[in-house]
Symmetry: C2
Protein backbone atom coordinates (compact mmCIF):
# COMPACT_ATOMS: atom_id res chain seq x y z
CA UNK A 1 0.00 0.00 0.00
CA UNK A 2 1.17 3.49 -0.83
CA UNK A 3 0.55 6.02 1.92
CA UNK A 4 1.77 9.62 1.92
CA UNK A 5 1.00 12.27 4.49
CA UNK A 6 1.62 15.85 3.33
CA UNK A 7 1.73 18.79 5.74
CA UNK A 8 0.57 22.30 4.84
CA UNK A 9 2.67 24.71 6.88
CA UNK A 10 0.20 27.58 6.48
CA UNK A 11 -2.90 25.91 7.90
CA UNK A 12 -1.21 22.99 9.74
CA UNK A 13 -3.36 20.63 7.67
CA UNK A 14 -2.50 17.00 7.00
CA UNK A 15 -3.53 15.62 3.64
CA UNK A 16 -3.36 11.92 2.79
CA UNK A 17 -2.64 10.27 -0.56
CA UNK A 18 -3.22 6.54 -0.80
CA UNK A 19 -3.28 3.73 -3.32
CA UNK A 20 -2.95 -0.01 -3.28
CA UNK A 21 0.16 0.11 -5.46
CA UNK A 22 2.10 1.92 -8.21
CA UNK A 23 0.22 2.17 -11.48
CA UNK A 24 -3.08 1.99 -9.64
CA UNK A 25 -5.99 4.28 -8.86
CA UNK A 26 -5.46 6.50 -5.85
CA UNK A 27 -7.38 8.77 -3.52
CA UNK A 28 -6.72 11.89 -1.51
CA UNK A 29 -8.26 13.09 1.77
CA UNK A 30 -8.56 16.75 2.82
CA UNK A 31 -6.44 18.43 0.15
CA UNK A 32 -5.53 22.13 0.46
CA UNK A 33 -6.09 24.38 -2.55
CA UNK A 34 -2.65 26.00 -2.47
CA UNK A 35 -0.96 22.59 -2.61
CA UNK A 36 -3.02 21.14 -5.47
CA UNK A 37 0.00 21.15 -7.79
CA UNK A 38 2.15 19.49 -5.13
CA UNK A 39 -0.35 16.65 -4.74
CA UNK A 40 -0.57 16.24 -8.52
CA UNK A 41 3.23 16.04 -8.70
CA UNK A 42 3.35 13.40 -5.97
CA UNK A 43 0.50 11.45 -7.59
CA UNK A 44 2.20 11.57 -10.99
CA UNK A 45 5.60 10.60 -9.60
CA UNK A 46 4.04 7.67 -7.73
CA UNK A 47 2.56 6.59 -11.08
CA UNK A 48 -1.00 6.87 -9.78
CA UNK A 49 -4.26 7.97 -11.32
CA UNK A 50 -6.30 10.12 -8.95
CA UNK A 51 -9.89 8.87 -8.96
CA UNK A 52 -11.33 9.98 -5.60
CA UNK A 53 -10.90 13.24 -3.62
CA UNK A 54 -12.58 13.39 -0.22
CA UNK A 55 -13.22 16.13 2.30
CA UNK A 56 -14.07 15.02 5.81
CA UNK A 57 -16.07 18.24 6.33
CA UNK A 58 -16.41 21.87 5.25
CA UNK A 59 -13.14 23.31 6.48
CA UNK A 60 -13.08 26.79 8.00
CA UNK A 61 -9.31 27.25 8.13
CA UNK A 62 -8.23 26.51 4.57
CA UNK A 63 -9.74 26.28 1.12
CA UNK A 64 -10.23 22.80 -0.31
CA UNK A 65 -8.52 21.57 -3.48
CA UNK A 66 -11.46 19.30 -4.35
CA UNK A 67 -12.69 21.48 -7.19
CA UNK A 68 -9.22 22.03 -8.67
CA UNK A 69 -8.36 18.34 -8.48
CA UNK A 70 -11.65 17.34 -10.09
CA UNK A 71 -11.10 19.86 -12.85
CA UNK A 72 -7.53 18.75 -13.52
CA UNK A 73 -7.91 14.99 -13.19
CA UNK A 74 -11.58 14.20 -13.67
CA UNK A 75 -11.63 12.49 -10.26
CA UNK A 76 -14.87 12.08 -8.37
CA UNK A 77 -15.31 14.20 -5.23
CA UNK A 78 -16.83 12.98 -1.98
CA UNK A 79 -18.27 14.42 1.18
CA UNK A 80 -20.76 13.21 3.76
CA UNK A 81 -24.48 13.27 3.00
CA UNK A 82 -25.19 16.41 5.05
CA UNK A 83 -22.63 18.55 3.22
CA UNK A 84 -24.03 21.60 1.44
CA UNK A 85 -21.06 21.91 -0.91
CA UNK A 86 -22.38 22.12 -4.44
CA UNK A 87 -19.74 20.36 -6.49
CA UNK A 88 -19.53 17.02 -4.76
CA UNK A 89 -19.91 13.98 -7.04
CA UNK A 90 -21.03 11.58 -4.32
CA UNK A 91 -22.50 12.33 -0.89
CA UNK A 92 -21.76 9.31 1.28
CA UNK A 93 -23.84 7.93 4.12
CA UNK A 94 -22.95 5.91 7.21
CA UNK A 95 -21.12 2.66 6.42
CA UNK A 96 -20.87 3.35 2.69
CA UNK A 97 -17.56 2.33 1.13
CA UNK A 98 -15.38 4.52 -1.07
CA UNK A 99 -13.19 2.12 -3.05
CA UNK A 100 -10.11 3.16 -5.04
CA UNK A 101 -8.69 0.05 -6.64
CA UNK A 102 -8.68 -1.94 -3.43
CA UNK A 103 -8.27 0.82 -0.88
CA UNK A 104 -11.64 0.78 0.88
CA UNK A 105 -12.72 3.68 3.09
CA UNK A 106 -15.78 3.11 5.25
CA UNK A 107 -17.70 6.29 6.07
CA UNK A 108 -18.54 6.93 9.72
CA UNK A 109 -20.81 9.86 10.57
CA UNK A 110 -19.00 11.81 13.31
CA UNK A 111 -20.68 15.18 13.82
CA UNK A 112 -19.64 17.58 16.56
CA UNK A 113 -16.92 19.76 15.06
CA UNK A 114 -19.42 20.44 12.28
CA UNK A 115 -22.82 18.84 11.73
CA UNK A 116 -21.66 17.21 8.49
CA UNK A 117 -18.29 15.73 9.50
CA UNK A 118 -17.51 12.17 8.54
CA UNK A 119 -14.53 10.03 9.48
CA UNK A 120 -13.18 7.34 7.16
CA UNK A 121 -11.91 3.93 8.23
CA UNK A 122 -9.54 1.57 6.40
CA UNK A 123 -9.70 -1.96 7.77
CA UNK A 124 -8.18 -4.09 5.03
CA UNK A 125 -4.68 -4.55 3.72
CA UNK A 126 -2.49 -3.44 6.59
CA UNK A 127 -2.82 -1.57 9.86
CA UNK A 128 -6.32 -0.28 10.56
CA UNK A 129 -6.41 3.48 10.08
CA UNK A 130 -9.05 6.10 10.71
CA UNK A 131 -9.03 9.57 9.18
CA UNK A 132 -10.85 11.69 11.70
CA UNK A 133 -10.90 15.13 10.09
CA UNK A 134 -11.21 17.64 12.93
CA UNK A 135 -13.53 15.77 15.26
CA UNK A 136 -10.73 13.82 16.95
CA UNK A 137 -7.29 15.40 16.97
CA UNK A 138 -4.09 14.10 18.59
CA UNK A 139 -4.62 14.65 22.34
CA UNK A 140 -7.36 17.13 21.46
CA UNK A 141 -10.56 17.63 19.49
CA UNK A 142 -11.93 20.12 16.99
CA UNK A 143 -13.75 23.19 18.27
CA UNK A 144 -17.53 22.93 18.41
CA UNK A 145 -18.68 26.54 18.25
CA UNK A 146 -19.72 27.08 14.61
CA UNK A 147 -21.02 25.34 11.46
CA UNK A 148 -23.44 23.24 13.48
CA UNK A 149 -20.73 22.26 15.94
CA UNK A 150 -22.05 20.70 19.12
CA UNK A 151 -19.94 19.44 22.03
CA UNK A 152 -22.53 16.78 22.93
CA UNK A 153 -22.39 15.39 19.41
CA UNK A 154 -18.58 15.64 19.43
CA UNK A 155 -18.45 13.58 22.64
CA UNK A 156 -20.87 11.04 21.22
CA UNK A 157 -18.94 10.73 17.93
CA UNK A 158 -15.62 10.29 19.66
CA UNK A 159 -16.56 8.16 22.65
CA UNK A 160 -19.42 6.10 21.25
CA UNK A 161 -18.14 5.68 17.70
CA UNK A 162 -14.40 6.25 17.27
CA UNK A 163 -13.41 4.89 20.68
CA UNK A 164 -15.20 1.62 19.91
CA UNK A 165 -12.60 0.91 17.21
CA UNK A 166 -9.71 -1.39 18.07
CA UNK A 167 -7.12 0.29 20.32
CA UNK A 168 -4.40 -0.34 17.70
CA UNK A 169 -6.28 1.66 15.03
CA UNK A 170 -4.02 4.45 13.86
CA UNK A 171 -5.56 7.91 14.04
CA UNK A 172 -4.76 10.35 11.24
CA UNK A 173 -6.36 13.75 11.81
CA UNK A 174 -6.70 16.71 9.45
CA UNK A 175 -4.50 18.86 11.66
CA UNK A 176 -1.81 18.88 14.24
CA UNK A 177 -0.10 21.97 15.56
CA UNK A 178 2.71 20.37 17.57
CA UNK A 179 4.40 18.23 14.90
CA UNK A 180 2.79 14.93 15.94
CA UNK A 181 1.88 13.00 12.81
CA UNK A 182 -0.24 10.10 14.07
CA UNK A 183 -1.85 8.61 17.12
CA UNK A 184 -3.94 5.54 17.93
CA UNK A 185 -7.40 4.99 19.38
CA UNK A 186 -5.86 3.40 22.48
CA UNK A 187 -3.67 6.44 23.11
CA UNK A 188 -6.52 8.89 22.67
CA UNK A 189 -8.76 6.91 25.01
CA UNK A 190 -6.09 7.04 27.69
CA UNK A 191 -4.31 10.35 27.10
CA UNK A 192 -6.58 12.78 25.26
CA UNK A 193 -6.61 15.60 27.80
CA UNK A 194 -10.17 16.64 27.00
CA UNK A 195 -11.64 13.14 27.07
CA UNK A 196 -9.69 10.67 29.16
CA UNK A 197 -11.53 10.15 32.42
CA UNK A 198 -14.00 12.93 31.61
CA UNK A 199 -17.78 12.68 31.65
CA UNK A 200 -19.83 14.07 28.80
CA UNK A 201 -20.75 17.05 31.01
CA UNK A 202 -17.12 17.76 31.80
CA UNK A 203 -16.19 17.54 28.11
CA UNK A 204 -19.03 19.87 27.12
CA UNK A 205 -17.92 22.33 29.78
CA UNK A 206 -14.32 22.26 28.48
CA UNK A 207 -15.46 22.82 24.90
CA UNK A 208 -17.88 25.60 25.81
CA UNK A 209 -15.14 27.48 27.66
CA UNK A 210 -12.50 27.35 24.89
CA UNK A 211 -13.30 30.89 23.71
CA UNK A 212 -11.19 30.56 20.58
CA UNK A 213 -10.96 33.39 18.05
CA UNK A 214 -12.51 32.71 14.65
CA UNK A 215 -10.12 31.04 12.17
CA UNK A 216 -8.29 33.68 10.16
CA UNK A 217 -9.61 32.38 6.86
CA UNK A 218 -13.14 31.52 8.03
CA UNK A 219 -15.03 34.20 6.11
CA UNK A 220 -13.26 33.25 2.92
CA UNK A 221 -12.87 29.52 3.44
CA UNK A 222 -16.40 28.42 4.28
CA UNK A 223 -18.14 29.99 1.25
CA UNK A 224 -15.26 28.91 -0.98
CA UNK A 225 -15.45 25.36 0.34
CA UNK A 226 -19.18 25.24 -0.27
CA UNK A 227 -18.16 25.83 -3.89
CA UNK A 228 -15.39 23.15 -3.65
CA UNK A 229 -12.62 25.72 -3.52
CA UNK A 230 -13.74 27.95 -6.36
CA UNK A 231 -13.10 31.27 -4.64
CA UNK A 232 -14.40 33.48 -7.43
CA UNK A 233 -17.62 31.55 -7.66
CA UNK A 234 -18.15 31.91 -3.94
CA UNK A 235 -17.55 35.63 -3.65
CA UNK B 1 5.63 -2.23 14.85
CA UNK B 2 5.23 1.18 16.43
CA UNK B 3 6.46 4.04 14.27
CA UNK B 4 6.07 7.72 15.04
CA UNK B 5 7.49 10.61 13.08
CA UNK B 6 7.65 13.91 14.96
CA UNK B 7 8.24 17.24 13.24
CA UNK B 8 10.13 20.13 14.84
CA UNK B 9 8.67 23.33 13.39
CA UNK B 10 11.71 25.44 14.33
CA UNK B 11 14.40 23.44 12.51
CA UNK B 12 12.14 21.43 10.15
CA UNK B 13 13.65 18.27 11.63
CA UNK B 14 11.99 14.86 11.53
CA UNK B 15 12.60 12.61 14.51
CA UNK B 16 11.60 8.95 14.56
CA UNK B 17 10.45 6.84 17.51
CA UNK B 18 10.18 3.10 16.94
CA UNK B 19 9.55 -0.11 18.81
CA UNK B 20 8.40 -3.60 17.98
CA UNK B 21 5.33 -3.23 20.22
CA UNK B 22 3.79 -1.67 23.31
CA UNK B 23 5.61 -2.51 26.54
CA UNK B 24 8.83 -3.04 24.61
CA UNK B 25 12.19 -1.35 24.27
CA UNK B 26 12.25 1.53 21.81
CA UNK B 27 14.67 3.74 19.96
CA UNK B 28 14.77 7.28 18.68
CA UNK B 29 16.62 8.76 15.70
CA UNK B 30 17.75 12.40 15.43
CA UNK B 31 15.99 13.91 18.45
CA UNK B 32 15.94 17.71 18.92
CA UNK B 33 16.91 19.10 22.34
CA UNK B 34 13.91 21.41 22.69
CA UNK B 35 11.50 18.52 22.14
CA UNK B 36 13.12 16.07 24.59
CA UNK B 37 10.13 16.27 26.94
CA UNK B 38 7.73 15.74 24.03
CA UNK B 39 9.53 12.55 22.99
CA UNK B 40 9.57 11.31 26.59
CA UNK B 41 5.82 11.93 26.82
CA UNK B 42 5.18 10.01 23.60
CA UNK B 43 7.47 7.18 24.71
CA UNK B 44 5.78 6.96 28.11
CA UNK B 45 2.29 7.07 26.62
CA UNK B 46 3.20 4.34 24.13
CA UNK B 47 4.32 2.28 27.14
CA UNK B 48 7.87 2.03 25.83
CA UNK B 49 11.27 2.02 27.49
CA UNK B 50 13.80 4.13 25.58
CA UNK B 51 17.01 2.13 25.24
CA UNK B 52 18.73 3.60 22.16
CA UNK B 53 19.09 7.20 20.93
CA UNK B 54 20.84 7.68 17.61
CA UNK B 55 22.14 10.68 15.70
CA UNK B 56 22.81 10.17 12.01
CA UNK B 57 25.47 12.89 12.14
CA UNK B 58 26.59 16.05 13.94
CA UNK B 59 23.76 18.41 13.12
CA UNK B 60 24.50 22.04 12.37
CA UNK B 61 20.94 23.36 12.44
CA UNK B 62 19.64 22.14 15.76
CA UNK B 63 20.98 20.86 19.06
CA UNK B 64 20.64 17.14 19.72
CA UNK B 65 18.64 15.68 22.60
CA UNK B 66 20.96 12.68 22.91
CA UNK B 67 22.57 13.90 26.10
CA UNK B 68 19.29 14.89 27.75
CA UNK B 69 17.62 11.60 26.81
CA UNK B 70 20.57 9.59 28.09
CA UNK B 71 20.53 11.52 31.34
CA UNK B 72 16.80 11.11 31.85
CA UNK B 73 16.34 7.52 30.72
CA UNK B 74 19.73 5.84 30.92
CA UNK B 75 19.47 4.93 27.23
CA UNK B 76 22.59 4.21 25.21
CA UNK B 77 23.56 6.80 22.60
CA UNK B 78 24.86 5.98 19.12
CA UNK B 79 26.65 7.70 16.29
CA UNK B 80 28.87 6.55 13.45
CA UNK B 81 32.49 5.61 14.13
CA UNK B 82 33.92 8.86 12.78
CA UNK B 83 31.87 11.09 15.08
CA UNK B 84 33.87 13.31 17.42
CA UNK B 85 30.97 13.77 19.86
CA UNK B 86 32.23 12.92 23.33
CA UNK B 87 29.22 11.42 25.03
CA UNK B 88 28.32 8.65 22.62
CA UNK B 89 27.97 5.20 24.21
CA UNK B 90 28.60 3.23 21.02
CA UNK B 91 30.27 4.34 17.78
CA UNK B 92 28.93 2.09 15.05
CA UNK B 93 30.71 0.89 11.94
CA UNK B 94 29.48 -0.18 8.51
CA UNK B 95 26.96 -3.04 8.65
CA UNK B 96 26.77 -3.10 12.44
CA UNK B 97 23.28 -3.67 13.82
CA UNK B 98 21.59 -1.57 16.49
CA UNK B 99 18.87 -3.78 17.98
CA UNK B 100 16.06 -2.54 20.20
CA UNK B 101 13.93 -5.52 21.16
CA UNK B 102 13.56 -6.74 17.60
CA UNK B 103 13.85 -3.47 15.69
CA UNK B 104 17.15 -3.88 13.88
CA UNK B 105 18.92 -0.89 12.30
CA UNK B 106 21.82 -1.66 9.99
CA UNK B 107 24.42 1.12 9.82
CA UNK B 108 25.46 2.30 6.36
CA UNK B 109 28.34 4.76 6.09
CA UNK B 110 27.07 7.59 3.88
CA UNK B 111 29.48 10.54 4.04
CA UNK B 112 29.05 13.63 1.90
CA UNK B 113 26.87 15.99 3.90
CA UNK B 114 29.39 15.50 6.69
CA UNK B 115 32.33 13.12 6.83
CA UNK B 116 30.75 11.14 9.69
CA UNK B 117 27.18 10.68 8.45
CA UNK B 118 25.59 7.26 8.66
CA UNK B 119 22.23 6.08 7.37
CA UNK B 120 20.26 3.34 9.09
CA UNK B 121 18.29 0.60 7.36
CA UNK B 122 15.42 -1.52 8.72
CA UNK B 123 14.84 -4.62 6.61
CA UNK B 124 12.81 -6.90 8.88
CA UNK B 125 9.26 -6.85 10.14
CA UNK B 126 7.45 -4.67 7.62
CA UNK B 127 8.26 -2.29 4.80
CA UNK B 128 11.97 -1.69 4.31
CA UNK B 129 12.88 1.77 5.59
CA UNK B 130 16.05 3.82 5.45
CA UNK B 131 16.77 6.79 7.69
CA UNK B 132 19.07 8.95 5.64
CA UNK B 133 19.84 11.88 7.93
CA UNK B 134 20.79 14.79 5.68
CA UNK B 135 22.69 12.98 2.94
CA UNK B 136 19.56 12.10 0.94
CA UNK B 137 16.55 14.38 1.34
CA UNK B 138 13.18 14.19 -0.44
CA UNK B 139 13.90 15.38 -4.00
CA UNK B 140 17.12 16.95 -2.68
CA UNK B 141 20.30 16.30 -0.73
CA UNK B 142 22.13 17.85 2.19
CA UNK B 143 24.61 20.65 1.57
CA UNK B 144 28.24 19.58 1.28
CA UNK B 145 30.17 22.72 2.18
CA UNK B 146 31.21 22.26 5.83
CA UNK B 147 32.00 19.63 8.50
CA UNK B 148 33.96 17.53 6.03
CA UNK B 149 31.17 17.72 3.47
CA UNK B 150 32.19 16.59 0.01
CA UNK B 151 29.91 16.48 -3.04
CA UNK B 152 31.86 13.57 -4.56
CA UNK B 153 31.33 11.53 -1.40
CA UNK B 154 27.68 12.62 -1.28
CA UNK B 155 27.17 11.37 -4.84
CA UNK B 156 28.92 8.11 -4.04
CA UNK B 157 26.91 7.56 -0.86
CA UNK B 158 23.60 8.24 -2.56
CA UNK B 159 24.14 6.64 -5.96
CA UNK B 160 26.42 3.73 -5.10
CA UNK B 161 25.00 2.88 -1.68
CA UNK B 162 21.46 4.17 -1.06
CA UNK B 163 20.27 3.80 -4.65
CA UNK B 164 21.28 0.12 -4.62
CA UNK B 165 18.52 -0.54 -2.08
CA UNK B 166 15.21 -1.91 -3.33
CA UNK B 167 13.12 0.74 -5.12
CA UNK B 168 10.27 0.20 -2.64
CA UNK B 169 12.46 1.10 0.34
CA UNK B 170 10.85 4.03 2.14
CA UNK B 171 13.13 7.02 2.67
CA UNK B 172 12.82 8.92 5.93
CA UNK B 173 15.15 11.91 6.04
CA UNK B 174 16.08 14.16 8.97
CA UNK B 175 14.48 17.18 7.33
CA UNK B 176 11.92 18.34 4.87
CA UNK B 177 10.98 21.93 4.27
CA UNK B 178 7.92 21.45 2.04
CA UNK B 179 5.74 19.23 4.24
CA UNK B 180 6.58 15.95 2.50
CA UNK B 181 6.97 13.24 5.12
CA UNK B 182 8.43 10.28 3.22
CA UNK B 183 9.76 9.14 -0.12
CA UNK B 184 11.11 5.93 -1.61
CA UNK B 185 14.41 4.96 -3.21
CA UNK B 186 12.62 4.43 -6.55
CA UNK B 187 11.19 7.95 -6.48
CA UNK B 188 14.50 9.55 -5.59
CA UNK B 189 16.31 7.66 -8.35
CA UNK B 190 13.78 8.95 -10.89
CA UNK B 191 12.76 12.37 -9.55
CA UNK B 192 15.47 13.80 -7.30
CA UNK B 193 16.19 17.00 -9.18
CA UNK B 194 19.89 17.02 -8.26
CA UNK B 195 20.53 13.40 -9.11
CA UNK B 196 18.13 11.92 -11.63
CA UNK B 197 19.88 11.69 -14.97
CA UNK B 198 22.88 13.61 -13.64
CA UNK B 199 26.52 12.55 -13.84
CA UNK B 200 28.78 12.83 -10.80
CA UNK B 201 30.40 15.91 -12.36
CA UNK B 202 27.02 17.56 -12.88
CA UNK B 203 25.98 16.78 -9.30
CA UNK B 204 29.24 18.17 -7.92
CA UNK B 205 28.77 21.32 -9.97
CA UNK B 206 25.22 21.77 -8.63
CA UNK B 207 26.36 21.31 -5.04
CA UNK B 208 29.37 23.61 -5.41
CA UNK B 209 27.15 26.38 -6.74
CA UNK B 210 24.49 26.28 -4.00
CA UNK B 211 26.04 29.21 -2.12
CA UNK B 212 23.83 28.70 0.92
CA UNK B 213 24.17 30.91 3.98
CA UNK B 214 25.44 29.21 7.14
CA UNK B 215 22.69 27.64 9.25
CA UNK B 216 21.46 30.14 11.83
CA UNK B 217 22.35 27.91 14.75
CA UNK B 218 25.63 26.55 13.34
CA UNK B 219 28.02 28.28 15.74
CA UNK B 220 25.98 27.10 18.69
CA UNK B 221 24.79 23.74 17.41
CA UNK B 222 28.01 22.07 16.27
CA UNK B 223 29.97 22.55 19.52
CA UNK B 224 26.87 21.70 21.54
CA UNK B 225 26.31 18.55 19.50
CA UNK B 226 29.91 17.48 19.99
CA UNK B 227 28.93 17.51 23.68
CA UNK B 228 25.67 15.62 22.92
CA UNK B 229 23.51 18.70 23.41
CA UNK B 230 25.05 19.97 26.61
CA UNK B 231 25.22 23.63 25.67
CA UNK B 232 26.94 24.86 28.83
CA UNK B 233 29.64 22.24 28.56
CA UNK B 234 30.36 23.27 24.99
CA UNK B 235 30.57 27.00 25.55
Amino acid sequence: MIFRQVYDHTSSTYTYIMASGHGREGLIIDPVKELADTYLTIIEQLDLKLVRAIDTHTHADHVTALGDLREQTGCQTYMGKYSKADCVSVYVDEDEIIDADGIKLRAIYTPGHTNESFSFLIEDGGPTMVFTGDVLLIRGSGRTDFQGGDPHKSYDSIVNKLFTLNDETLVYPAHDYKGWTASSIGEEKRFNTRLAGKSEAEYVDIMNKLNLPDPKLMDEAIPANLACGNIRQAS
